[in-house]
């Protein structure tokens, strides 16, 4: 749930999503949902010469379950705050 909130704060930022089929897509984060499905606008596929499959695609919906990594803009993430929040959540979960 925490990571969902983090993604919500990052809407309209430029992110790069690496998928489990080794495709990397850069685009503007438009929205996320509870499954971490991602909507990207103005997308660009890395190494477009090798992957012309998505030439005519301008925006897309990516299923959360196939995302390997999301590269975030460092200047829009408060790493210290995120660290504290994740540890607090982990501690709360252990108590339960």
């Amino acid at each position: 749930m925490l990571i969902f909130s983090v993604f919500k704060t990052l809407t309209d930022q430029q992110v790069t999503v690496e998928l489990k089929n080794d495709l990397s897509i850069t685009g503007t984060l438009k929205s996320v949902d509870q499954f971490l499905n991602i909507r990207l606008d103005s997308i660009k596929v890395l190494d477009e010469a090798r992957h012309p499959h998505m030439m005519a695609v301008k925006n897309c919906f990516i299923r959360g379950s196939v995302v390997r990594y999301v590269q975030l803009p460092a200047e829009h993430v408060d790493t210290q705050l995120l660290e504290d929040a994740t540890r607090r959540e982990a501690a709360a979960q252990q108590k339960r």
Partner: protein, 95 residues
């Protein structure tokens, strides 16, 4: 919410877990991201020849097979001569 609402009645490109690429008009979807495509065609990519389009008709794709759904810019898509496009097929998902 990252919903599929905006894609209904639009021409979309679906990429599946096994690497297949299917284009079609999105007729509907549900909360599990199962998708119904009308007038769909599979695009088979290879290095030996241009892209081959195999007509599939009306298709229901299970949500858990879907990797990505992209909205096709129809003008841009029509401008591309698929028979000249040579590319490796997309790799399947590997966990």
């Amino acid at each position: 919410m990252a919903s599929l609402q905006g894609y209904v009645d639009h021409r979309v490109l679906l990429i599946l877990q096994d690497g297949r690429a299917i284009v079609g008009v999105m007729a509907g979807y549900d909360q599990k991201s199962n998708v119904v495509l009308s007038d769909s065609k599979e695009r088979v990519y290879s290095m030996e020849e241009g892209v081959e389009e195999i007509p599939l008709g009306l298709y229901l794709v299970k949500g858990d097979q879907i990797v990505l759904i992209g909205e096709l810019d129809e003008a841009l898509d029509k401008a591309v001569d698929l028979s000249t496009v040579r590319a490796e097929p997309l790799p399947p998902i590997r966990y």
